[in-house]
Symmetry: C2
Subunit: 428 residues, 2 copies
């Protein structure tokens, strides 16, 4: 029998305790599948005394995760503390220096420091695995870096923040405003301590940058992700979009184009009858398009104790079975520098604005759009009781630059009240 | 640099040629990802002279796949000929005996001989991988045996024969009969040479038995799969099901119950708004439920050159990277004997019958059902112009045995014309 694989687990929050529970509950099953025992040697967390509802007495305790990462009786250092710097980074660096493999759920850390950590790990002959960092229980890192390893990846898309999707779905179903549903989500405990990580799109942007690195063989480049949160989405937009057969999602898109690597995490309209459009509530979905495989869709819980711990176990089992996959699917030294695309791929756009109820108002808007080379696919003016009329326009394919320029010129017409809304329509 | 991984590929049909094309087109990308060159040493097929549209001149040719499997310059034997016995089996056995790893897309062979082949491979320290045998390009074998390796699997479900799903979808959309759409599919080349492999559910049953072995740690047991094809599905059933919010799918279900292992590949009703219900056309979908991860849904092309070759490459890359996963996710010797469940889990049932237009006819049917302990959730009688009325019944949860017994007693009522139709409603 091969020697046990010995773990040091730092961070005993939801995911850490979930991981301990699986290892305790399924010791025999895991040993059978891995061909060796999965054993926890030592643990670490901020508060030793807290009752976590699990018997931890069999494991050595370290107050300092760095000390945990260096222990002789640890083969794999499992970092589940979070935070893009501080103890998480220091302890992973210590683990690599001490010759340990690393499993982490820390998307923020990897989005910022992933390339350097991967270089260090590979120089030391160690691996860093991070299935739990992206889309919770969905085995998407494995699907992309292993299951689809024979494909040149064309595009990766995804709804990767369950809280945002919950908020948008709940707005549609309840008719409540963004602010009201945001407050609901906060009270339900669905939001991070800094809610901007969720609703601002940052957390999902971290995840997208990691998938993009694997997909396109480029160094992870979070700074180049164009990020826009869901805070400006109004119930009106959700309703109008639905009327035209669309739903609004906080959608991540990464694609390699002739203009460079495009990474966006922004609200988009998607067809309501597409898999992404049908995704309601807190569930996550990742869509991967490869040159041979076509389109693969993966769907599942993106957060929570069980799903995230399931992903941590996937990485632990991979290491236990002797699989040594590079952090980003190929040696970090062979990853190319990502050249961010200066412009995004042309798309159809949804425009909503309030027009003064004057003769010729629509014509003036149409003229501005036409001047920018934007042609109109559909236009709807809604009934109204006050002095302005809600108008919806769906354009044919055009660039973001043309849209921005047209929007900047609309005030000249003196018929548009307030700020128009423009949302990209993604082809999915 | 590690030594090249040298392949011998037997079978140059759609999948074999697709595999060669990927290796030729993406040589550098594959080498970067695998950390070593993926090299084809030799090939074999029935007809050497046929023009396959690909330059094969760099590879040694063997007429005999067994000779190919034994070549000294082959590390991995890639069997893409098909057939559950004959040269496929002989050559895989020869490869294992000669110390080669094996990659195959051969679901029929593995469903029958998989256990013995896995035992032989593991005794020789070799692996057999078969991602391409199940659901084409969807990396479901990897998801189940690796990505969800920390889960006790509760249930595996799936639409795993694209031809059947195409036929059922096309019937719904066109209103054509089964026979008419079957003929269309035949002319489009969607059917196997023996169409019963497709529409009879056998091909999909092979796939289900392989997933069940991985999911539940049991020896593959195809004989115990309850199989029923789609030949008896009428356009009436499709329409009536739709009226009640369901779609009919040839659905595979494997679950471990207190009564033993249940494996079914049968037409089922599923809610039209569920991921399985929304799956239209030739696409495949597999749903996996684990104790920690909850429900994971995987969707993609289940057949075709590119998708299937993508799956073959996934296995080749896994071996190239040094991953050694047992055929069924744990050593074959540790797989338990599957005890087939004598009865299937209770479910709601859809019943359709023609009732004589006589007073008390419905009451008589309801009485028979009641006698068998079957309670009725919904009943609809449709308008009609002839002497019999179509009647639909949706039952509450009951056993298949109760349904069968009730059906056998319906003729006693003398009000039921012809054979009633009974289709299980699966909770998805």
């Amino acid at each position: 029998m091969t020697k046990p694989l010995r773990l040091g687990i730092a961070g005993l929050g939801t995911v850490g305790i979930g991981t301990v529970k699986i290892i305790q509950r399924h010791a025999q099953m895991l040993a059978r599948r891995a061909g060796r025992e999965i054993r926890i040697s030592a643990i670490s967390a901020r508060n030793r005394k807290r009752d976590r509802g699990v018997d931890l007495s069999a494991y050595a305790w370290e107050d300092d995760p760095v000390a945990l990462a260096r222990r002789d009786d640890v083969d794999v250092y499992v970092e589940l503390m979070g935070g893009e710097n501080g103890p998480a980074k220091a302890s992973i660096e210590a683990a690599i220096a001490a010759g340990k493999d690393v499993v982490t759920a820390n998307k923020a850390l990897l989005a910022i420091h992933g390339h350097n950590l991967a270089l260090a790990a590979e120089a030391a002959g160690r691996v860093i695995r991070f299935e739990a960092a992206v889309a919770g229980g969905i085995p998407v890192v494995k699907a992309l870096s292993e299951g689809l390893a024979g494909n040149e990846i064309r595009r990766v898309m995804g709804v990767m923040n369950g809280t945002c999707n919950y908020i948008l779905t709940r707005m549609e179903e309840s008719g409540l405003t963004y602010d009201a549903v945001f407050e609901e989500a906060r009270q339900l405990g669905y939001l991070e301590a800094d809610p901007n990580l969720d609703v601002g799109g940052i957390d999902a942007g971290h995840k997208l940058s990691l998938l993009a690195a694997i997909a396109f063989g480029t160094r992870v480049c979070f700074d180049a992700v164009q990020i826009e949160g869901i805070g400006r989405i109004s119930i009106d937009d959700i309703r109008r979009a639905r009327d035209m057969g669309y739903r609004i999602k906080l959608l991540g898109v990464a694609q390699m184009t002739g203009r460079g690597l495009e990474q966006r995490m922004t609200p988009c309209l998607v067809p309501a009858d597409s898999p992404l459009g049908q995704l309601q509530g807190g569930t996550n979905m990742v869509v991967i398009e490869g040159d041979s495989v076509g389109q693969i869709v993966l769907r599942g819980a993106g957060a929570g104790e069980g799903p995230t711990a399931s992903a941590v176990l996937a990485d632990i089992m991979e290491i236990a079975r002797g699989c040594r996959v590079s952090t980003f699917g190929q040696p970090a030294a062979s990853l190319s520098e990502a050249v961010p695309a200066a412009t995004s791929a042309p798309a159809r756009w949804y425009l909503r604005m309030q027009l003064a109820d004057k003769p010729g108002a629509l014509a003036k808007v149409a003229t501005v759009l036409g001047d920018e080379g934007i042609s109109i696919d559909r236009m709807r003016q809604y009934g109204h009781s006050d002095a302005t009329a809600p108008v919806l326009i769906v354009t044919h394919k055009t660039t973001r630059e043309a849209i921005d320029h047209a929007l900047s010129r609309l005030p000249e017409t003196r018929v548009v009240e307030g700020d128009p809304v423009a949302i990209r329509i993604e082809t999915v």
